[in-house]
């Protein structure tokens, strides 16, 4: 899953990026409202964490503009200002959730998870497909009784394919949702990671199907 964090404090953005990357998220960041808006307009993020107090455009404006442009990514607003009026304004401009600073990191991550879960095809925190079992909340993957160690990108691909089961996902889409903006779009990395992922969980190639010219899907 890929998220965008928009906050003008680098000292808050950096630890948040580390924390989410440790949980196999791809994280893009922006330090002002304008860059935040531009990034969210281009890429389809699975969640946007948006501070209210931003230079250039404030959080409310960013949310309004994104919704006006048809961006449907869930938005979680962060702010130190907690007047009821600000909270209402936040929701009215298109936010899906709201946390006041200082927040509990764990709470922020659980809320982001919840927003992403809402948007995905499955609300389950544990999914079983044949012998494969994925526990999303604990981020543990098992085949039968054996625990499989996946790297962040392999886990990210498996998670995205599973949560969008029933659709064929193109390489571009995988790139957009599992990698952050630092990636070069002409890379072979999706193919490479699908290969290594299959080696680990789907040796007989029955689980992850490659639809030539279209993309991949979970069976």
């Amino acid at each position: 899953m890929r998220i965008l964090i928009v906050d003008d404090e680098q000292s808050i953005v950096r630890p948040l990026k580390i924390a989410f990357e440790n949980r196999a998220f791809a994280v893009d960041t922006a330090l002002d409202g304008q860059s935040g808006f531009e990034l969210a307009n281009i890429s389809n993020y699975d969640c946007i964490v948006l501070d209210l107090n931003l230079p250039k455009y404030d959080g409310i404006e960013v949310a309004k503009k994104l919704r006006a442009n048809g961006v449907t990514s869930p938005i979680l607003m962060l702010t130190a200002r907690d007047l009821k009026r600000n909270v209402w304004e936040g929701f009215e401009s298109g936010a899906d959730d709201y946390l006041t600073k200082p927040f509990d990191l764990k709470e922020l991550m659980l809320r982001v998870d919840a927003l992403i879960r809402r948007n995905s095809k499955t609300l389950d925190t544990v999914v079983e497909i044949g012998k494969l079992k994925i526990n999303f909340s604990k981020q543990v993957v098992t085949v039968g009784s054996e625990v499989i160690i996946l790297n962040n990108k392999e886990y990210g691909i498996l998670e995205y394919l599973t949560k969008n089961r029933g659709r064929v996902i193109s390489s571009e889409e995988l790139l957009e949702h599992v990698w952050d903006s630092e990636i070069d779009s002409f890379t072979q990395t999706v193919r490479t990671n699908i290969k290594t992922l299959r080696q680990k969980v789907d040796n007989d190639k029955k689980l992850i199907i490659n639809y030539r010219g279209k993309g991949y899907a979970i069976n």
Binding site: L16, T100, P102, F103, K106
Partner: protein
């Protein structure tokens, strides 16, 4: 003691009455004087006339009347005059009513801008600050209205400034707190740190401190915020039970037992959110200082109406009571009984100060006393407000 009663002025004290009286008495006296003067002069005129009127109509000219009967003319004329006088005097009665009536109506029209201003003053609490009244007259009342509008604007400005200051201060303090907390939590999350129990507990202590700073900041900001209340009518028993159960649950208060003595149909008009904060603080205070020797918190909550003027809420515990020298300072900011500020009992001494602010924003009173048998009792008195129709 309950403050501002509804503004009904007895009529005999009002300016309107004085104006009406002044106007009608003046008109009346003038008319009476006029009538009497006319009557007097007519009287004199008639008295001065000879017995036989000089200007009799032609057909009476040739009537012969004996000299000793000529006084009859005079008597008839005087009798007629007396009748006119009698009628004019009787007319003075309805005149009194008419002059008073027109005086009353006129003074009402005249005083209309005053009434309008007064009703706006009354609603200033509930309406938006900065409310402006239309200036409709060009006189002293118009000037008064203009002054009111200026005052209203100034009040709103200072209120806005204060709110903005508090929000800015809030942001300035909470941002570094957030930086500290989030970075610490990420470090504590690190697998290497998580394995080291000593480091983990150190991190937990530091993060806990940041949380306490956060709570203190919120309380301080709460205290410095002006309390504008939004009242709703609620049923006392439901409301109090819900608020107290929530406090006990959310703060994990153990060994608590609450007894309620609340009139079944008793209701009051309060700001539900603010008052719940005040009540919560009293309960938390009781939990800290009002437990029995065995550690039980035994609360008694009483709500009753007093003389149709106030609602009285009483919160009693069965603890050691309040130290004598503490009672007068109990509701001061940062006052804690344990003056060394050691952390055996947590708290910054702001909870009761916040209670006092909230109760006073409702135009009520809060006090504390020791109950003779044992324990402390907190009493909140709220005036019964007669809600105006909005």
């Amino acid at each position: 003691m309950p403050s501002t009663k509804s503004n009904t002025l007895p009529f005999y004290k009002s300016v309107r009455f004085k104006l009406t009286l002044f106007y009608s008495v003046l008109v009346y006296l003038f008319t009476v004087f006029f009538v009497l003067a006319i009557n007097l002069s007519i009287n004199n005129y008639f008295e001065s006339l000879p017995d036989r009127p000089a200007n009799l109509p032609p057909r009476f000219q040739n009537i012969q009347i004996e000299p000793d009967q000529q006084h009859l003319f005079r008597e008839i004329r005087l009798a007629d005059l007396k009748e006119v006088q009698r009628r004019s005097l009787i007319a003075l009665v309805p005149l009194a009513l008419i002059s008073f009536g027109t005086g009353y109506v006129m003074s009402g029209v005249f005083l209309r801008p005053v009434k309008k201003l007064q009703s706006h003053f009354d609603t200033l609490d509930e309406k938006e600050l900065g409310f402006q009244v239309d200036v409709t007259t060009d006189d002293e009342f118009g000037q008064l209205t203009t002054s009111f509008n200026e005052l209203s604007k100034r009040l709103k400005n200072s209120f806005d400034l204060q709110t903005r200051f508090i929000q800015d201060a809030s942001h300035e303090i909470k941002t570094p707190l957030t930086i500290i907390k989030t970075n610490l939590e990420v470090i504590a999350d690190d697998k290497k740190i998580a394995k080291d129990t000593q480091l983990t507990s150190i991190m937990a202590d530091v993060v806990g401190s940041v949380d306490r700073l956060k709570d203190l900041t919120n309380q301080l900001l709460d205290l410095s915020r002006d309390k504008k209340i939004k009242s709703e009518t609620v049923l006392c028993s439901e409301y109090l039970k819900e608020v107290i159960e929530n406090v006990i649950k959310n703060s994990n208060l153990e060994k608590t037992n609450v007894k309620y003595e609340i009139g079944k149909d008793l209701s009051f008009s309060v700001d539900q959110n603010l008052l719940s904060v005040a009540i919560g603080n009293i309960i938390l205070n009781a939990s800290k200082y009002g437990r029995t020797k065995s550690g039980d918190l035994k609360l008694k909550v009483v709500a009753k109406e007093v003389e149709g003027e106030e609602i009285q809420l009483e919160f009693s515990d069965a603890g050691p009571g309040i130290q004598k020298d503490a009672i007068s300072n109990l509701f001061d900011r940062f006052y804690t009984v344990d003056s060394s500020r050691s952390r055996t009992v947590s708290g910054y001494g702001l909870g009761l100060a916040i209670c006092k602010q909230i109760v006073e924003a409702h135009k009520g009173e809060i006090s504390a006393e020791n109950v003779k048998t044992c324990g402390a009792k907190f009493v909140i008195r709220l005036p019964i407000r007669h809600n105006k129709e909005n």
